[in-house]
């Protein structure tokens, strides 16, 4: 904190306002290759991102070297000089806030013993099915983030994260499963078992004819499609820049009336936080309520520019990234039904979601670990097929949300049933 105070003190001599975002932490990572622990990595990181504001011109720089902070501050000021002037209502001042967001687990430490136990459990779970393990990982991290500014904000938050993954193969059928949590609560055995089940169950799949089918997309598949097309469309910056399909749709029915989409920074997800990347107190943002578009996401910069309030939606990609509009915990919610009761093609994952058109939501992707399911019972696997459509259109009329939600990246969401979707097969 002494260094951060020094940066703020020096910075305020040069600019109207200064902000420092700092991270420091330690992580331990175990890597499995072919079912054997191949490497163990201890990583220590420290870094600061400095933002300066001078007469509505915003500058940014970052460094991982405490000895270069003066150079970094100078670069931030120069960066501000080059930026275009914009309306700016100022950085937030300090406020008292209740600790609501689950950001850390006091019992989670980046130590070898708990990491090894998780790795052993992954392998044990995978042993339930006749597969070859091709890879896997265990990561435990613990650190602190600091947000301080020249208006007097001095916020710190401890952070912990545990994440695990396993990859397996059976013949030419692959399976991949993962999980992550702020808490030391991961069921590594179940993750290993699921990866192995997917590889084993989907071996020897059958071809499918081109046509329209009823699908159930897993939370993983839904998160990928939403993340590449819908989340960018909710950004206030994209809306005002004319890059969002949802522009002009506020107050209108844009998704199925059984579907709500909100950011809940206090939910038990990996993006939980009490304040956003600019020190604005986090709050629940109802983007879509019962299918009706209600809000867009704003950070301070975009809100100042367009005469609205920040929704505390600034996120940071570590110390090296300037704040940008994003989501903390994107929750997909609505009435839950038995989406697996009636026969459908279950799609565990998709290949190529990042190739979706981020403007229009049009996509055509390859199915991964797809199999028929009825009454909750996994049936015949499909060997190879593509799925094409438009994510906004698909979510205008859904067949239901499943009962169990899971955390996938910065989203918390259930499986979603989508009827009459276009599959390109043999």
């Amino acid at each position: 904190m002494e260094l951060i105070e020094a940066i703020l003190e020096e910075g305020i001599r040069r600019c109207d306002e200064v902000e420092v975002f700092g991270t420091n932490g330690t992580s331990l990572s175990l890597t499995l290759k072919g079912g054997i622990l191949h490497s163990a990595e201890l990583s220590r990181s420290w870094g600061v991102g400095i933002r300066t504001i001078e007469k509505g011109k915003i500058g940014f720089s970052s460094t991982s070297d405490p000895g270069r902070w003066r150079e970094c501050l100078k670069a931030a000021c120069e960066s501000g000089t080059a930026a275009t002037h914009q309306e700016w209502k100022g950085l937030p001042g300090p406020v008292e806030y209740p600790l609501r967001a689950p950001t850390h687990d006091p019992s989670l430490f980046p130590n070898l013993d708990p990491a090894q136990l998780l790795a052993d459990a992954l392998l044990e779970g995978a042993g339930e099915h006749p597969v070859t393990i091709t890879g896997g990982s265990v990561d435990l991290s613990r650190g602190t983030i600091i947000l301080a500014n020249s208006r007097g904000v001095r916020y710190t938050a401890p952070r912990t994260l545990a994440s695990i993954s396993l990859e397996a193969i059976h013949g030419t059928s692959t399976g991949y499963e993962f999980d992550a949590s702020v808490f030391m609560e991961l069921d590594a055995r179940a993750v290993g078992e699921q990866a192995a089940f997917l590889a084993s169950h989907c071996d020897g799949g059958y071809d499918i004819s081109t046509g329209d089918y009823d699908l159930v997309l897993s939370p993983i598949a839904v998160a990928q499609l939403l993340g590449h097309a819908v989340v960018p469309a909710l950004s206030g910056r994209n809306v005002h820049a004319g890059r969002s399909r949802l522009s002009g749709e506020l107050g209108k029915q844009c998704l199925d009336e059984g579907l709500s989409l909100y950011d809940d920074p206090f939910a038990r997800g990996t993006g939980a936080t009490d304040w956003d990347g600019e020190g604005v107190l986090a709050r629940r943002i109802p983007f879509v309520n019962d299918g009706v578009l209600e809000r867009f996401a704003y950070d301070l910069k975009t809100a100042s520019r367009y005469g609205t309030e920040s929704t505390a939606s600034a996120v940071r990609s570590g110390y090296g990234g300037a704040p940008a509009i994003g989501v903390h915990n994107l929750v997909v919610d609505g009435e839950r039904t038995g989406v697996f009761d009636d026969k459908a093609l279950f799609v565990h994952d998709i290949v190529g979601a990042h190739t979706a058109n981020p403007l229009t939501g049009d996509f055509s992707v390859e199915l991964s670990n797809a199999y028929w399911i009825e009454g909750g019972i996994p049936g015949t696997p499909v060997r190879k097929a593509m799925y094409a459509g438009n994510i906004f259109e698909a979510f205008r009329s859904i067949g239901g949300l499943g009962k169990e939600s899971r955390v996938v990246g910065s989203a918390i969401l259930p499986p979603v049933r989508l009827n009459k979707q276009r599959i390109i097969g043999k």
């Binding site: 201890l42 960066s79 193969i169």
Partner: protein
């Protein structure tokens, strides 16, 4: 250093400059600094690794202290590891035609503004241009006493235009990145091209998903080589049993005129003067005359898997090396583009890349074109949008019927294991028979 058989250290220091111009406003124009070090210590069975910021290798006992921290980590690792080869020598980094470091930020902004403005053709409602510049000073040291340093500077830009008409919205995008020096001058044409593509796509129809004859342009042909063959030839995936190309050396898997090469020595965006384990880099013919000829390797995978030499270990600053591609391409054939279209007859021409992905163990890949044209009677007709192509590695290479004579290289970034590294891909125009094309269009 008890029990430590070998160690190496890779330090990457430098700066990155980023300029972001959105609808004429300079949103960001700044420089940041990084200094990341990875120290790997090889124990009796497996690696212990320590990663740190702002490490000073020359400080007394600093390396010894780091290894003392890495060594106990090997208590939990169990893999028998043999390392092939010895580090060095380093290749000369091609000289910069114009060093971007000496050009003032204001001039870079002005030039990028010019490219962004050029994208504002009628019906374009939003334009955005981004410039990236990154200079890395890399130092590689190991327990044999090797101590090598080199500098490499990469820079480039992308420009995007969004066209809007009656509620419809489409996007055009162009980008160019290089290791040859500053490249923002005289590039307004790229901006205009992005704008015109966005406008043209407003009238394009969605592609209809089905099997059809496909002509891939040079950029998509490169992505095809990268996704369909490159990843599956990576020695770590072969070793772990996660590639359909495992055990296929000598087998014919494609057209007998098909040769696919990875070459980090070329002065393209994926150039490396030395790999991330300190090994000399070299050209590898992955597919030769339609047969699997060699794999890409690091020091660990080469002795276990064989059929190739180490030299393809690459790493993002502060990350552990992985087996990666560099500059990957399909060699020229001898067919002119016009002839290729004529032989195609009826089908689709796919142009530009919106990215791709592969599941190498399953042997299935997918990539997406920025746009395309229907081919009727050997001529390009209606423009189509949102079209992708998927296939199975072991059968699709047989579907390549003709190979053009007009190879070009394109730059990009490739992700694997959470790391993104600069690469280039390229190919001549290619004709594929009966490929699976995906799109949401219907009859």
């Amino acid at each position: 250093m008890q029990g430590i058989r070998y160690y190496d250290l890779r330090q990457v220091r430098g700066y990155g400059t980023r300029i972001d111009i959105d609808n004429g406003a300079v949103e960001e124009a700044g420089t940041s600094f990084f200094d990341d070090t990875v120290i790997r210590a090889l124990g009796p069975k497996g690696w212990g690794v320590v990663t740190m910021d702002s490490f000073v290798p020359d400080a007394p006992t600093s390396i010894e202290n780091a290894i003392a921290e890495a060594a106990p980590l090997t208590a939990v690792t169990h893999e028998d590891i043999l390392l092939a080869g010895v580090p060095g020598p380093v290749r000369a980094v091609p000289a910069l035609r114009e060093d971007p470091a000496v050009i003032h930020l204001d001039e870079k902004i002005d030039l990028l503004h010019g490219i962004e403005r050029a994208a504002r053709v009628p019906e374009v409602g939003n334009t955005r241009a981004t410039y990236l510049e990154r200079k890395e000073t890399v130092r590689f040291m190991d327990s044999s006493g090797i101590d090598i340093s080199y500098d490499v500077t990469r820079c480039g830009f992308s420009v995007m235009a969004v066209a809007v008409r009656q509620g419809r919205m489409q996007m055009g995008r162009e980008s160019r990145h290089t290791i040859s020096g500053f490249n923002l001058r005289h590039q307004e044409g790229m901006g205009e091209k992005a704008g015109r593509t966005a406008v043209a796509l407003l009238d394009a129809v969605p592609a209809r998903g089905k099997r059809m004859n496909v002509v891939l342009d040079q950029e998509l042909g490169g992505v095809f080589a990268h996704e369909a063959v490159g990843h599956a030839s990576e020695g770590d995936l072969i070793k772990e049993g996660n590639s359909v190309l495992r055990g296929k050396i000598g087998e014919t898997i494609g057209n007998r005129d098909l040769t696919i090469i990875d070459d980090p020595t070329l002065p393209e965006f994926g150039f490396e003067p030395l790999d991330a384990e300190g090994m000399a880099v070299h050209r590898t013919e992955v597919i030769q005359g339609g047969k699997v000829h060699a794999y890409l390797h690091n020091r660990e995978t080469a002795p276990v898997v064989g059929n190739g030499e180490p030299g393809n270990a690459r790493a993002m600053a502060g990350s552990i090396p992985q087996v990666r591609m560099s500059n990957t391409f399909i060699e020229n054939g001898d067919i002119a583009f016009e002839e290729l279209l004529e032989v195609c007859g009826t089908g689709i021409l796919l142009k530009g890349s919106r990215g791709g992905q592969v599941d190498p163990g399953r042997g299935v890949f997918l990539f997406n074109a920025e746009y395309g044209y229907l081919i009727e009677n050997g001529e390009c007709t209606t423009m189509v949008r949102d079209v992708s192509l998927s296939g199975e590695i072991l059968s699709t290479l047989h579907d390549i019927e003709l190979i053009g004579n007009d190879r070009l290289m394109y730059e990009g970034f490739c992700g694997k294991g959470g790391q993104s590294v600069p690469v280039s891909d390229g190919a001549p125009h290619l004709l594929l028979r009966h490929a699976v094309v995906g799109g949401s269009g219907t009859d």
